[in-house]
Amino acid sequence: MPELRSETMTVNMGPQHPSTHGVLRLVLELDGENIVSAEPTIGFLHTGIEKTAEQKKWQQVIPLVERMDYLGAQSNSLAYCLSVEKLIGLEIPERVTWIRVLIAELQRLSSHLVWLGTHGMEIGAVSVMLYCFREREQLLNLNEMLAGFRMFPSYIRIGGLREDLPRGFHEAVQAFLDKFPAKLDEYHKLLTKNQVWIGRTKGVGRLSREDTMAMGLVGPMARAVGIPYDVRKAFPYLKYDTFEFTVPTATEGDVYARYEVKMEEMRQSVSLCRQALSRITPTGQFDCRDFRYVPPPKDRVYTEMEALIQHFLLYSQGFNVPKGEAYVPVEGARGEHGFYVVSDGANRPLRVKARAPSFIACQALPKMIIGGLIADVIAVIGSTDVVMGDVDR
């Protein structure tokens, strides 16, 4: 009788696997159901946005960068605009700052809702997806109201905002914020004490504090292992130090801990939205009124020659940004998110480089899944909340 032979099996998970959030390919080596080695392969969605950005004028880069992390679109444009404004040295009025805080927090809610919905669906809780997308739809409606575009509004511009808030925006946001906490309780009822959910997530995909920091994982991933690092607290931008909020943390560092952290983050975001909304006057200044960088108001364009000329100059030649470089990160839905922009003094960037949290999280996937079961891979990918547009750019 021949001897029984045992060997490991190589399995390609993705790039067309429904649970890989797009086009992530994982080459897994399996010993039975246990994972012996794993290698993420990326690049399937590489569209050369950074190269394209070098050909565009400064303001034209905004729609491009919004398509990187497509679930947190306005966190991209916010980070990009903050960096360019830092480089120019623009003073942004307070009202614009509060509107940006409101947008950033609504964007975080919208991104976390997609995360929760898809994460739940991948582990088998399909109804969670329907619940979450129901609320996300309302957030997309708010975007549509704001800018006429649901996914990529390009509403945040260098020097301020594209236009003033639409009529009725306050009431619409207020109505959403009034309803949302009850919906959040619904998600908790569906999952937090659900035995199947706990069984699939507790103790899965564990990371240590040291590994988390060494792998450069920040944001919810770091807070789930007890590193309370939040860009909003450590390096405040948009005057976040004048808002009251806490940074939720957990200690276990597993998939369930990440779930707990993000759920609490949504509650904090609602509170931040309320605070920001109370500071925003319904009408008022919406850009820095430095007409070297933002177009003059329409009534002046139609009545004054100089304003008309400036309007044409801005839309045909753009503006020049002084020589130098800047990097101003924001706390995106997936962690520290920033754009390193370099200018050689021209009306086009010399280099735009995104610090993409999903890219860094993808790199750490093998650390979390090796030694686990193949079924847990899906739970881990869901918990890292990678967006392939952000990974491949």
Partner: protein, 205 residues
């Protein structure tokens, strides 16, 4: 913000290194020579007064036609009380630092910092992929975003924005049947890998 504190500490700890402060608008910026990059980075991470435990990003800028043409840019962060590095008892103040290393066009290679911050692995692969800068002692220097057989380095300034040539990525991997069988048996770690032509061979050729 001034760069005096990290600068003085570094000049004391690595006296041979050519460390210069550079003007900047957002965070202290230092330029370092590549010969002393690893020593400087080790001090930045391990010194209890600095504790730059987080390597935020690694990237490069092509300054063609200036020389040195390439500029490696490392963004570091100390996250303050949120995380203490091994051996530190007191948190260092939360701060950011930018390190720059100039590289000449003819010899665009730099030591890899992935031994100090493991997170540098993929960002360095990306810089290699898009700029063609070679990282010495990198554990796995392969293309990451572009296809393995791509010619040229897309983010260089002299690389065209639009190319009309088809990518040759359809061509099969040239492995002999023996190598293929060996790969299947050997498992993942020992598999034969075809290194990219630009990657230096282990013997330095």
């Amino acid at each position: 913000m001034d760069a005096s504190s990290p600068l003085d500490l570094l000049r004391g700890a690595v006296p041979d290194a050519a460390i210069q402060p550079l003007p900047s608008v957002d965070m202290p910026t230092l330029s370092v020579d590549r010969e002393h990059l690893l020593e400087v980075c080790a001090v930045l991470r391990d010194d209890p007064r600095l504790q730059y435990a987080l390597l935020v990003d690694v990237t490069a800028v092509d300054r063609l036609p200036a020389e040195p043409r390439f500029e490696m840019v490392y963004h570091l962060a100390c996250v303050g009380a949120a995380f203490l590095t091994a051996g530190a008892t007191q948190p260092a103040p939360a701060s950011r630092l930018r390190l720059k290393v100039g590289l000449p066009d003819a010899d665009a290679r730099v030591p890899s910092v992935s031994g100090i911050w493991p997170t540098a692995g993929w960002p360095e692969r990306e810089v290699f992929d898009l700029f063609g800068i070679v990282f010495q002692d990198h554990p796995d220097l392969r293309r990451i975003l572009m296809p393995d057989d791509w010619e040229g380095y897309p983010l260089r300034r002299d690389y065209p924005v639009q190319i009309r040539k088809d990518a040759a990525s359809w061509s099969p991997l040239q492995l002999t049947p023996e190598e293929f069988a060996r790969n299947v048996r050997a498992g993942h770690d020992k598999a034969v890998r075809r290194a990219h032509p630009a990657v230096p061979k282990p013997d330095g050729q």
